[in-house]
Symmetry: C2
Subunit: 299 residues, 2 copies
């Protein structure tokens, strides 16, 4: 990553963290346990990729970064809730995330379930407070519907259901099922983060469509590359247990298509993501640089 | 209950059930498991008290019942999600609800957590689709904020946190703590159901305030009476295991204040609920009759 981009992401990260700190009740708010647990997971060192994409999309559409902070914080709350629930013993049963004890290890399972519930709920409270420009072709209800559909049973939750049902099974997923899981679990929330930012900038339907295309291909490419790296890289370089997917019989792109075809697919998706931004000209440069940073890995 | 009221509640229940059936994805929607699990708990025989109060409040404020159906369905989704998560082994660990296996017994813990998540999420999708009258002093964002605050860490989730922390402890709750739990777990969502209905009727701030007062006292009275009946009635009459609260060391009104003082308190709260409706005249008759039905139990 260039020094420029690194400094830019760092400064964006700070803005997002400050917003999250404002939007979440202080840790001493009664009952203290739940607010402490919400903050523990929110401030566990996430890279704020989704909120940053939300801010960049607003600026790419000529909008004001400040107006995109509420949706940015909301998508981060949704992302964090989904990690807390995914880590539970009855789901993926993970004890560590980013080297720290997961919520249920630190607070117990009951509080972890409730901390997830509370973050999911506050996402909509925060989003409902979005200060849209006037006039704007979108209303607060449109933003709420966008996020609720993405977070719900047909996308984010639905992807986790298929993931849960697929694990440990001898039968491999079909390519269509695998794509559905990637779309639901990764691409959908990335795309909505981008769309919500654009909506706060009163983006045209055409801009919104182009950004959806960008987000979907970015999310899918990111996931395919992750699958490839899981096979090819050492645990050390990856910062997590390499080969973990294979060990738990998870279907992955390389498992279904082989490494070579997976690499071609990743390159194709990356190209499509860039094409989708063409009409934005220089205004989308930050989005391009972030896409490069996410996708230009040694796969 | 009079035949009149019985017929009225039955017809309202039918309207609410039809709305829920329209708002929820059909059970075959992919992934089928989650949509089946959502419907299993939603259509498990609930009395639809909260949505019915939502409809009645809209009519008491001169509004259109049809416009209150979306918030009514939304609060029922919130109520049902909270039951699914409360029943989990890591919370109250209940195997049966209304004589049927609870969600985690039927679908496994992972799917039960996700079914709760999905119902919590779809509540906001449904609510965002509310068709408000024009003009209306409330916007969709106000409705979303109302429900999110009530369902969140300071109310519904917060009450469950205190409940969870209080269980099995030797130390009794203080009266203030017990009231906080009752307010958070029962009164808050009842009150919001009523307020949301009123908001779809463009209720005046004064009407909204009176209905909040009604809802809070109704909810608290209902809970005190439940506590009393748990001590005084047989399991048979109650339809659930009597004395269960005492068996799990839960603090209750009778445990803290004795039966006599609890009865006085229940009567006082009931009177306050009725007083709150005075300014509505005959328009609030259905709300009064429902309050009577809920509170005129043999305590």
């Amino acid at each position: 990553m260039s020094d420029d981009l690194s400094a830019h992401l760092k400064s964006r990260c700070k803005i997002v963290d400050e917003a999250l700190n404002r939007f979440l009740p202080i840790a001493q708010t009664r009952p203290a346990t739940i607010h402490d647990a919400m903050r523990y997971s929110i401030f566990a060192g996430g890279k704020r990729l989704r909120p940053i994409l939300c801010l960049e999309a607003a600026e790419a559409c000529g909008g004001d970064l400040q107006k995109a902070l509420a949706p940015g914080a909301a998508v981060e709350c949704i992302h964090t809730y989904s990690l807390i629930h995914d880590d539970l013993p009855c789901m993926d049963d993970d004890d560590l995330r980013r080297g720290q004890p997961t919520s249920h290890v630190k607070y117990g399972e009951g509080i972890a379930v409730l901390a997830g519930d509370a973050l999911l709920t506050i996402a909509f409270e925060i989003l409902a407070g979005t200060d849209l420009p006037a006039p704007c072709r979108y209303a607060t209800g449109d933003l709420v519907k966008e996020l609720a559909v993405t977070a719900g049973s047909r996308h984010l939750v639905g992807g986790q259901v298929l993931d849960l049902e697929g694990e440990g099974k001898d039968v491999k997923l079909t390519p269509a099922e695998l794509k559905y899981i990637h779309l639901s679990k990764t691409a959908a929330l990335l795309t909505s983060s981008i769309r919500l930012g654009a909506m706060t900038a009163d983006a045209t339907p055409k801009q919104l469509e182009a950004l959806s295309e960008f987000g979907t291909n970015l999310g899918l490419a990111f996931q395919v590359i992750d699958d490839i790296l899981d096979v090819t890289q050492s645990a050390d370089k990856l910062g997590k247990s390499a080969g973990k997917d294979a060990a738990t019989d998870k279907s992955t792109y390389p498992a279904l298509f082989g490494l070579e075809k997976s690499r071609t697919e990743a390159a194709k998706l990356t190209a499509k993501a860039h094409e989708a931004l063409e009409s934005f000209g220089r205004k989308a440069d930050q989005l391009r640089r972030i896409a490069d940073y996410l996708l230009d890995r040694d796969y």
